[in-house]
Amino acid sequence: MNFKGRDIVSIKDLTEEEILHILDIAEGMVPIARGEEKSNLLEGNIMASLFFEPSTRTRLSFEAAMKRLGGNVIGFARPGATSLQKGESLADTIRTAESYCDVIVMRHPQEGSARMAAEFASVPIINGGDGAGHHPTQCLLDLFTIKKEKGDIGKNKVALVGDLKYGRTVHSLAYALAMFKAEMVFVAPEQLQMPSEVVEECKAMGATISFETDLEKAVEDADVLYVTRIQKERFPDPEEYNKVVGIYKVDKKLLENAKKGIIVMHPLPRVYEIAPEVDNTEYASYFRQAFNGVPVRMAILALVLGGIK
């Protein structure tokens, strides 16, 4: 298994074996991610962090990951401060940035942007989200969280809740869960259900899938509740958004009737969909999940830069 120099554009670029390898390396990174141990594994390496769209967790955890491993970070968090404002193409921006660094992490509002960047760059491209497309490192940290908290990935029934149509994280996650043969239930109002293309693809991989509109029913036998935000920015029509926002709310009352040991995950940011009263319960796994972004991204950086095989 050789990761050195590889692009990570989509979770589909990785095999099950490769994913498990990344998760194993990530497990070993946890003490360094917490600051309990020091590392100079990536000393002398520079990561360019090119964020053409807002981000809190992805950008900060990537930058923390690189710095925890002794590497350096350059980049921008807003395209306003770059030559893109002067009309420069993304391809030229990428070709320029790659001459200053050893790896590029990018988020861009257009689908396929990371795939295109990978064609132009000779340094590895790590996709931190391309519009409504892929977000593979989110998917890997979700899998890491499920494995760490439930001991296994495939033996769980995972309920994916909320915006399954526009939410990029759930498409990649559904695909990855299908790869691990986990059972899935898609909980969404009809207009926000999982696109048929994703459902077909998961079924073709042998996944057991069911559909539900009632969240109370779904929690009765789910091991993992993966909640997503209804993303206002992805709705072409504000009327459609108003109809569905706030339709599912996870609170203590709902979770009292849930299967014992259920964990609640969320890629964050959350708005209305998880009540703050859940934060301090044994169910809440979303802040640990956000932390897991650091060791998982450390593992990815170390692997593609050849610091670890």
């Binding site: 989509s10 193409s89 257009q110 795939r115 064609e119």
Partner: protein, 151 residues
């Protein structure tokens, strides 16, 4: 005697069994007449045949390579390419859908990077040939109405 709508050609290429109505799109994909500026080109549409209606394109004095013509398989999957020498069909091929389609159709997703001002050509991967299904190499969306995506 049956009247022929188009006279047989002495030498050149006949693209037969084109999906009815698509002859002009075929010419557009093959960049005809620009690519064959010395040739006489004729096209007939909605001709009756044993297998139903079809379009036909004839290009005189120019033998098109099968690989050149395969591009039309997107909109005319049943087409055949006949090479004519001295009024005889000397070679006959069925079009084959290539594995990748570059620069012929554009992605229907307005937010796909291939629809912005980047120095790239639209590129599609063939997911299945029967029925024909193609997906964008960049954004991975399937192109549902292939002929409306023609550039």
């Amino acid at each position: 005697m049956k009247e022929l709508k188009i006279q047989p050609i002495k030498n050149g290429t006949v693209i037969d069994h084109i999906t009815p109505g698509n002859a002009l799109k075929v010419l557009k994909i093959l960049k005809i007449p620009e690519n064959v500026s010395d040739s006489i080109v004729s096209a007939v549409m909605n001709v009756e045949s044993k297998r139903g209606r079809k379009d036909i394109v004839k290009i005189e004095n120019r033998e098109l390579k099968a690989s050149e013509v395969d591009k039309i398989a997107l909109i005319a999957p049943n087409a055949t390419i006949n090479i004519i020498r001295n009024y005889e069909v000397t070679e006959k091929h069925h079009v084959v859908v290539p594995d990748e389609i570059v620069g012929i159709v554009k992605c229907a997703n307005p937010n796909c990077i291939s629809n912005s001002k980047e120095p790239i050509q639209p590129r599609f991967i063939v997911k299945s040939r029967e029925p024909l299904r193609i997906k964008c190499f960049y954004c991975e969306r399937e192109l549902e109405d292939i002929s409306s995506g023609l550039m």
